[in-house]
Symmetry: C2
Subunit: 249 residues, 2 copies
DNA sequence: ATGGGTGTTGCAGTATGTGCAACACAGGAG
DNA sequence: CTCCTGTGTTGCACATACTGCAACACCCAT
């Protein structure tokens, strides 16, 4: 829509792959060096780009700061956090909160061990969308056509023998999840890790986020983990109530 | 330098504070709504901005992806990582790697517990620059005038009674660090946490990064932690050798 | 129905970004 | 030491592409 901005922003993913010098940037953008220079300068002023000693450019620190701030200000996250902590204190296992956004599933909070330590361990990383319990919950609620379209264009990496093999199996799984209102990942991503998850719903009844509890099966067998399901669902419902209660001003 | 891009980028920090609608964005930018709309659209196309159901804009997922990729591609980080893991395996405590960039200190890697789990727990967050061992190491190596200027404009929050109180004390501490070639943070940030750190130097001898080992003093007393210093320095030196050896193509 | 509040579109004018060409500066080769 | 090639940088004239306007579309509340 805006050519200048479009060009400037195209520089970011380009630099994400690794540092580049002015010439390279100009070439890959298909513009004159002087143009690239001015764009880079502007990005630099905003801290999105950094110039290292060898004069090459790479992504700058502000980017991290922005990403961080953005996560912290997600209202669902803010509302959910105390609930996650409470659940974690009760059962001790790792608790995740995730949202769906334009074809991706993102972890936006995580509580682990006994401390309320926030490790945004996987933020930005492609979540194992075809197997993670939270992903199933989020995708199961998409409108039919969108869900089909997405399922069709996904890859189905065989992380383990139990991973979802293809679109057909995935859609079937999603139907189940949709119906039962909760989801699991039993060794679908990593052989020894099981998860149980439940959806958080907004005022409109649609799934706004999903939470899950994960534990390695050396600590808890899958069956034992499933006994926690009522607790997980209760927590998710509590978050839903909080979330749909107050309107987000 | 480039007005259009400048305006577009100004939207990001604005949205980082929380979602905003078109009117608010336009007003805070001081431009017409239609202008703001086009800028937001462009940002949206690049995934930097996301539009929620209520039509308000907030920062988008791509931002996280970019930040993540950027961190993973930092060459120092890549080189240092195996060393950090090795050190961690030997001593068991948390190991951090940090760099300095335009007035800020950033953690770019962390190894904790026995697993090589990467938790970018603090990336983007303002590091406690006045007390952290890694910050001292990085700032101690700045050219004199820059160091003074920076020290003068910093805040000196009294996290604990042992925190660096003011610029004078900080500069003195930096001088010590510079001379001895290592640094500590003994309860300066959190009462019960101690750190020991050492610098990583590039081919030009300047400090390119800094690493530290942290442990709560319920586990290890400050004195015991200091006995690890030789090991820490050896690791830092090993990284320095690796780093200055190969030129970064 | 009616009104105020949004977000959206097409358009004309010109501010703004563009590419060029010349310059500055470095490092390497001879 | 000098030349030379490869960088990054600057000033400028041109016209592209961005801007603000005003009119429209839409939704919700009154």
């Amino acid at each position: 829509m805006s050519q200048t901005v479009d060009r400037a922003l195209s520089i970011l993913p380009l630099l994400a792959q690794g540092p580049a010098d002015l010439g390279q940037v100009a070439e890959r953008l298909g513009v004159h060096k002087s143009t690239a220079l001015r764009l880079l300068r502007t990005l630099h002023e905003h801290g999105l780009v950094y110039r290292q000693q060898d004069q090459r450019y790479r992504l700058g620190a502000r980017l991290f700061a922005l990403a961080q701030e953005a996560v912290e200000n997600l209202d669902i996250r803010e509302i959910a956090h105390p609930h996650l902590v409470a659940l974690n204190e009760e059962i001790g296992h790792t608790v995740h909160l995730a949202v769906y956004e334009e074809g991706e599933v993102l972890y936006i909070d995580k509580v682990e061990s006994r401390y309320p330590v926030r490790m945004y361990s996987r933020i930005g990383k492609p979540v194992a969308i075809t197997v993670a319990a939270v992903a199933k919950l989020l995708l199961a609620d998409l409108p039919e056509p969108e869900r089909r379209a997405l399922a069709a264009k996904l890859d189905y990496p065989p992380y383990t023998p139990r991973s979802t093999p293809d679109a057909a199996a995935f859609l079937k799984e999603l139907a189940t999840v949709r119906e039962q209102g909760w989801a699991t990942d039993l060794g679908g991503h990593e052989e020894s890790i099981n998860c149980v998850g439940a959806p958080v719903r907004g005022a409109d009844g649609r799934v706004a986020a999903a939470m899950s509890v994960s534990a390695p099966n050396v600590v808890v067998t899958a069956e034992e983990l499933l006994t926690l399901l009522p607790l997980v669902r209760r927590t998710a419902d509590a978050i839903s109530r909080d979330y749909s209660g107050k309107d987000r001003t």
